[in-house]
Each structure stands twice: as structure tokens, then as C-alpha cells.
């Protein structure tokens, strides 16, 4: 199963993680690979921690990534990146959105949000890319396109034909939001 590539998406409910993993899976299927993806619905939608596993290659069995075999941790939030860091391979890569979202205990002043997470992650995994997703999404014209910005960044480090990404976005993004999302995708892609 050594040819199977494992991407773990992480973030907070409501950030558009599931749509991003849908696009990623579609791209890999169009590239002719076997794809499996897995996530938990339900409770986690209420602002909780959310993960989505995407695996692709010649033949994929488990939809859950074997623990410790994550190739790329693709996180939409810094604390959530830190939470899932132990699941990464030693030579793995982190692509993380430079964003802090306060969990309830921090919002209530009962706990502090850990400092310097981006630096800490970068030290442990030198290939880490930190993306200013919200700034780029605002530049694209809509703060809700952060997930597309981040997908753009991810697309740069994956070995898949560029056109497949554009085709997948064309297929999966509502027509009236397509231009703004294509713009966001490019900005993310150029940020890596």
C-alpha cells in the first residue's frame, strides 16, 4: 500500500472543510486513481473539531488513514493542526491556515490559546507552509473563499494536472460563485 497518499484535513465546523475534501477527492478520481474519503458528520458540525481523511492511489482499502501515515496535514486552523500533528509521518508536510479560532474554554477566559504554534510546527516539520488564507480570500473578494485559497496552496504541492483542479471547481462550485473561487484558487496557488 506504499503508493497510497494520505491527506488529513482538519479544522473547525463551518470552515468548509468537507467541500474542500470533496473537490480534492473528485480531482483524484478524475486523475484515474482509486479514492476514499472519510469524515464524521453530526455533533462536529456544531463548531466542534472536524477532520476529513482523503486517501488515493492505485488501490485504497481503509478510508481511515493508518495512524502515523499522514503525508500531508492540511489544516484550516492552527490549534487543530497542532492537535493532529502526531498522526503525521516523520517526513510529512503541514499546510496550515494562519488563523486562530478560540475554543469555548478560551472564549470563556478559562484557558489560553497556545502561543507560537506556526513556529513550533515549522520547527518539527521543515516543509510546513503557512498560508494567510483570510487575507487572500478578502483579496479574492469574499471571506468565505478561504477553503478555495487553501486548496490552491495544496494543489501546488500535489503532483496532479492543474487543469483537473479547474475542471473540478467548475463542476462543484455554484455558477455565480465560480469566478471568485477561481480567483481565490490562483491566489492560494501562488502563495506557496
Amino acid at each position: 500500500m506504499s503508493d497510497v497518499k494520505n491527506i488529513l484535513l482538519a479544522g473547525v465546523g463551518g470552515q468548509g472543510i468537507l467541500l474542500a475534501s470533496e473537490v480534492l477527492s473528485e480531482v483524484m478520481m478524475m486523475a484515474g486513481m482509486d479514492v476514499k474519503k472519510n469524515e464524521i458528520h453530526g455533533m462536529s458540525q456544531r463548531g466542534g473539531s472536524v477532520t476529513s481523511h482523503v486517501r488515493y492511489g492505485e488501490k485504497v482499502y481503509s478510508s481511515i488513514i493508518p495512524e502515523g501515515e499522514v503525508d500531508i496535514l492540511f489544516s484550516f486552523e492552527l490549534l487543530e493542526a497542532k492537535r493532529y500533528l502526531p498522526l503525521l509521518r516523520k517526513e510529512g508536510q503541514v499546510i496550515v491556515n494562519n488563523l486562530k479560532i478560540a475554543p469555548p474554554s478560551v472564549a470563556l477566559g478559562k484557558q489560553v490559546y497556545p502561543e507560537n504554534l506556526a513556529d513550533e510546527i515549522g520547527k518539527q516539520f521543515p516543509a510546513t507552509k503557512v498560508i494567510n488564507g483570510l487575507d487572500l480570500a478578502l483579496e479574492a473578494g469574499n471571506p468565505k473563499t478561504v477553503n478555495t485559497v487553501l486548496l490552491g496552496a495544496l494543489s501546488k504541492v500535489l503532483d496532479v494536472d492543474y487543469q483537473l483542479w479547474i475542471d473540478a471547481l467548475n463542476k462543484m462550485v455554484p455558477a455565480k460563485l465560480l469566478d471568485i473561487n477561481l480567483n481565490a484558487f490562483e491566489l492560494g496557488r501562488n502563495a506557496v
Binding site: 482499502y61 490549534l79 497542532k82
Partner: protein, 583 residues
């Protein structure tokens, strides 16, 4: 043939469509909900939400008796509710095929227990298929209809969270159009289960299981995959995928029909190995039956019964491999789910907390009222249990303590199985208080319509249950309808009704704020005037995700992007610091 990526749930809905299903019924429940939702894209299927799983199955049985193929879906605990018709349906058998999809939730991602539904197959003598990915979910759904009609039996299709909510590539097929036209057809000996008839049918049930077991031994859904030939593994469902990851060289007997088990096939396979593993999630269901055949296996002596399996957990349990987990260290703040900003339940739980109520809770978004800072739930057992629990506990405590007991239940859960509890409460004259949080939707599972929403699954408008009249009709004299965004009123009514020495019901009337059609009034977000905020933290008792504590300035802040302007926080502030934008 067209290839698409489908979740297990989408694939089951597609399988039902291709199998020629005409009727589908369900009550929502994670992880099964999306199956019925996905049947609505196929216009040939009459799909509807039932008020509970028992009704859903009874509707399916009716369609089956009429000669149509019908699909009924529910989560594992839903089968407890539907068990009554299920066990007798096993005796009547079917006319058109009936497949009951049950989605188990190992690891309790969104459930109150971890029951293993394969035991129901054995208990009710209803055969069960178990797919291992989306393609099998589609194929086995079709197979289940064919096999059920061939052997005159209802069929189970068992999924688990990781099958229902995983996506994989599926090849689509065509819908069957050669099925007989449904019609009325009397067949009392088979369909009227009086003792004289049922006694005879029981023999048919037993014979059917013997026949099916023999048939199953030669069917391709039970298959052997050759590896290095040294160790053998018997497995089924999602556990098969983990075996392929964790033990790539093993010979595998993958079982597709998990009840009745293909015993001869198992015997022949087992004879080849000195070490034979049974890898399955939850109960030692296959293992016990294999051991009863006199075959020794490695199974739950090593593998966990509690929780779901993963590739790593299998390797750890069987081979002692060191497997990493996510970072659970205490300095990383956890991120539990929370009620949404503007949720009409929030103020009610804050007031229940302040009134020091003993809250018998129920199943829904409002179960999150258990979490701090609201911390106002003391029990939660199953759908509808809150009301009976309140009645029962009130029987055994002092009068003073009785005044603290409040049952809290949502609209959908109340109509599911709570109404019976209310009848009992009035009939047997319990002095408890019931709060029905009527947000006009089944919210927790992703906002499904129900008899209080005024809409059907197909979005068509329909009759709406009048909750107040319903409570009065069962005999509750004291029914109050309140706006839960009005905190002062909510506090007053909750305290009055708790003190009342008779059964009383409070109905909150705000819709779920995630349902746009019920939230047409424009509301502006609020901000905190830091000149007025004294840092008293009274607003933090709401636990609203839009309100954050600014440690540096010792003041509260509002995230205006997620604030929906419900103004509940404004009413918790003694210093008028919460101000609406544009005011």
C-alpha cells in the same frame, strides 16, 4: 457505465432506486439520515419521514404487503423502537421485498450507546448483509431485495458510521422495471399473525434460515482472498478494510451475509490454518458462532469490544505495534460542539441552571445543555425518556425536591415517543414540569422536517401539529407558550410552573435559527460598549460562541460575523453594554 464518488448512504439510496423500490420511510438518526434524504432525488420513490422508527417500519411493511419493494432506514437505537413490528414481520415474511437498513455507530460519534445490531439479526431471525464500501453498499442493497423475495424474508442491511459516511468510487446501474404491479391481495395465513397462524410460520422461519445458510456458502458475496497462506482471517464490513491494511499477507474470508453465517464455508476455510483470527468491530458476534462450531480463534481476547477499529488499533491489539494518537495533552484546549449563536435553547438552559432545576433530558441539539457553562442536564437515556424519567423520580423524592424536577424535550423527540410519557404523567397525576423546546425541525441530525414543521420530506407544505392543543388534549390544564428570547418571561414562567403542584407544560416557540424560511425577520448583530462593560462575565454564562472574553482588557467582545442578533446576551447585562449595530 458511469463512475461517481458516493458515500455509503448515497450508495444505499442508489441501490434502492436500482432495485425498483417504490416506498421509503425513516426517522432521522446519525449516521443513517442521508439515506432517505438521497432517495428524494429519485422521483419514482415515495419517500417520507415518519414520526418514529416503529411507524417507519410499519409503513414499509404495509407497502411490502401491497407487493412493492420498500426501504426503511434508521440508526441502531432506532431498531429498539421498531423491534415490535420487526420480530413479527420475520414471521409473515414479505410479498414485495423489504430491506431495513440499520446504521450502527461504533465509537459513539453521535449516539447514546454502542449496541451491535448484528445481534438483532440473530434475535429476530432476519438475515443481514454487511457491506465494506460504497460499491458493496449499492450492490448488497439490490442483493438484499432479491434474496429477501427468494427466501420470503425481510432483510437487514447493516452499515456503520465509517461505511455510511465514507466516500468511494461506485459504478452505477439501471433501475429495474420488471417488477409486479402492487395490488391488494388477501393472504390471512401469512399476514394475520394470530397464534394459530404464527405457530405454523415459525417453522417456515427456521427452515428459511437453514436454506439460506446453505445457499450463502456458494454465493460470491462471501469470498476468500488468498494471501501468503500462513494465517487466516475471518472478517466482515469495514473491519475487512483494516485487515487488508494491517495484515496484507493474510488469507481472508470476507463474509457479506453475516446472518445466517455460511458455516460450511467457514469450516472449510478454518481447516487450512493453525492460527485463525476473527476481526470484527464491537461484539464477538462472528467469533462466538465460530467457537460454537468447535473452532479455536484469536479474537476479542486481543481486539477491543469497545470503540471502533482502525488499521492502527488492529495492529496494536494483535501485534503490539506502537500507534500514535492525536494530541490530547491538557494544554491544548478541547473543541467540543456547542449550540449555535442565536439558538433559542440557550436562554432556557441558563435559566434552568439558575433555578437549580434537576433536568431529566432527552435526545437532540439541546442535549448540549449538559456542557458548561449551561450545565443544566442531569439525565439523558433515550428518545422520549425525559418525561417518564421525571414522573418516576418524582414518585420517590420529597415534595420540596419534586419542585426541582423538569423534563426537557424537543418537538421531534416529543412526537417520536415523548407524548406517551406525557399521557402517563397527566393520567397518573404527577406534579412535574415539562418544557417542550419547539424549534419546528429535527435539528441535531441536520434539520429534517417533522410533523411540527409544516413541511414534508419533499418540501411540500402540509398540516402542522398544534403542540399546545395536543398537550391540552391529553389533559394538561396548564400549558404556557413562551418566547425563549425573552429571558425575563422565560425565567418567570419556568419558576412559576416548577412551583405548581400539578402537571404543567411550557412550550418555547422560537424556530431553529438555521432554518431560513422560519427566520425572515432582519436582525442586526450586537457589539459590546467597552465604556459600559464592567467585566462582570454575566454574559459568559450563556456560552454563546459569538461572545469571547478579552483577557487583556478584561471585557467581553462579540464576533459580529457570527452574531445573529438574538439579543439574549443583552438581557443578561446589568450595565446596558450590549448594543445593536445601527442603534
Amino acid at each position: 457505465m458511469q463512475k461517481v464518488i458516493l458515500s455509503g448512504n448515497e450508495a444505499i439510496a442508489r441501490g434502492a432506486y436500482e432495485a425498483g423500490v417504490l416506498v421509503a420511510s425513516a426517522y432521522p438518526g446519525t449516521p443513517s439520515t442521508e439515506i432517505l434524504e438521497n432517495t428524494t432525488q429519485y422521483k419514482e420513490i415515495d419517500a417520507s419521514w415518519a414520526p418514529n422508527e416503529k411507524v417507519a417500519l410499519e409503513v414499509g411493511i404495509g407497502a411490502c404487503f401491497g407487493g412493492a419493494r420498500s426501504l426503511v432506514t434508521m440508526k441502531h437505537v432506532g431498531v429498539n423502537v421498531a423491534a415490535d413490528p420487526l420480530f413479527t414481520l420475520s414471521y409473515t415474511g414479505v410479498r414485495g421485498g423489504l430491506v431495513l437498513v440499520v446504521a450502527d455507530d461504533p465509537e459513539l460519534h453521535s449516539s447514546q450507546n454502542e449496541q451491535d445490531s448484528r445481534n438483532y439479526a440473530k434475535f429476530a431471525k432476519v438475515p443481514m448483509f454487511e457491506p465494506a464500501d460504497s460499491q458493496e453498499a449499492l450492490d448488497f442493497t439490490k442483493l438484499a431485495f432479491d434474496a429477501g423475495e427468494k427466501f420470503d424474508t425481510p432483510m437487514f442491511l447493516r452499515s456503520t458510521t465509517r461505511i455510511s459516511h465514507s466516500k468511494s468510487i461506485v459504478t452505477l446501474g439501471e433501475r429495474r422495471t420488471d417488477l409486479p404491479t402492487p395490488s391488494l391481495e388477501r393472504n390471512a395465513a401469512k399476514l394475520v399473525m394470530l397464534p394459530g397462524n404464527a405457530r405454523k410460520r415459525h417453522y417456515d422461519v427456521e427452515q428459511r434460515l437453514i436454506d439460506m445458510e446453505e445457499w450463502s456458502c456458494t454465493q460470491p458475496f462471501n469470498r476468500i482472498e488468498k494471501g501468503a497462506g500462513k494465517v487466516g482471517v475471518i472478517t466482515a464490513g469495514v473491519a475487512y478494510q483494516y485487515v487488508k491494511e494491517a495484515m496484507p499477507d493474510a488469507d481472508v474470508l470476507k463474509i457479506g451475509l453475516v446472518y445466517p453465517l455460511p458455516k460450511q464455508l467457514i469450516r472449510d476455510f478454518a481447516a487450512n490454518y493453525e492460527t485463525l483470527y476473527v476481526v470484527e468491530e464491537l461484539d464477538p458476534y462472528i467469533e462466538e458462532q465460530v467457537r460454537a462450531m468447535g473452532i479455536n480463534v484469536v479474537g476479542k481476547d486481543k481486539l477491543p469490544i469497545c470503540g471502533e477499529l482502525t488499521p492502527g488499533r488492529v495492529q496494536k491489539a494483535l501485534f503490539g505495534k506502537d500507534v500514535p494518537t492525536e494530541d490530547n495533552s491538557p494544554e491544548l484546549p478541547p473543541r467540543p460542539p456547542n449550540m449555535c449563536p442565536g439558538c433559542p435553547h440557550r436562554g432556557v438552559f441558563m435559566e434552568l441552571n439558575r433555578a437549580k432545576a434537576y433536568v431529566t433530558g432527552d435526545i437532540g441539539c439541546y442535549t448540549l445543555g449538559f456542557l458548561p457553562p449551561l450545565s443544566a442536564m442531569d439525565t439523558c437515556v433515550c428518545m422520549g425518556a425525559s418525561i417518564g424519567n421525571a414522573t418516576g423520580i418524582s414518585k420517590v423524592i420529597s415534595e420540596e425536591e419534586q419542585r426541582k424536577v423538569v423534563a426537557v424535550i424537543g418537538d421531534s423527540t416529543f412526537l417520536h415517543t415523548g407524548i406517551n410519557g406525557l399521557m402517563d404523567m397527566v393520567y397518573n397525576q404527577s406534579a412535574s414540569t415539562v418544557i417542550i423546546l419547539d424549534n419546528r425541525i429535527t435539528a441535531m441530525t441536520g434539520r429534517q422536517e417533522n410533523p411540527t414543521s409544516g413541511y414534508m420530506l419533499n418540501e411540500q407544505e402540509t398540516y402542522r401539529v398544534d403542540m399546545e392543543q395536543l398537550c391540552r388534549a391529553v389533559g394538561v390544564e396548564h400549558v404556557k407558550v413562551i418566547d425563549p428570547y425573552n429571558i425575563k418571561l422565560t425565567r418567570k414562567i419556568i419558576r412559576e410552573e416548577m412551583a405548581r403542584p400539578e402537571t404543567s407544560v411550557i412550550i418555547t416557540s422560537r424556530p431553529c435559527m438555521l432554518v431560513p424560511r422560519d427566520n425572515m425577520d432582519k436582525r442586526m448583530p450586537l457589539y459590546v460598549d467597552h465604556d459600559k462593560c464592567t467585566g462582570c462575565k454575566a454574559c459568559l454564562r450563556l456560552g454563546c460562541p459569538a461572545i469571547t472574553w478579552d483577557e487583556e482588557n478584561k471585557k467581553s467582545n462579540i464576533d459580529k460575523i457570527i452574531c445573529v442578533g438574538c439579543k439574549v446576551c443583552q438581557q443578561t447585562c446589568g450595565f446596558d453594554a450590549f448594543i445593536e449595530y445601527g442603534e
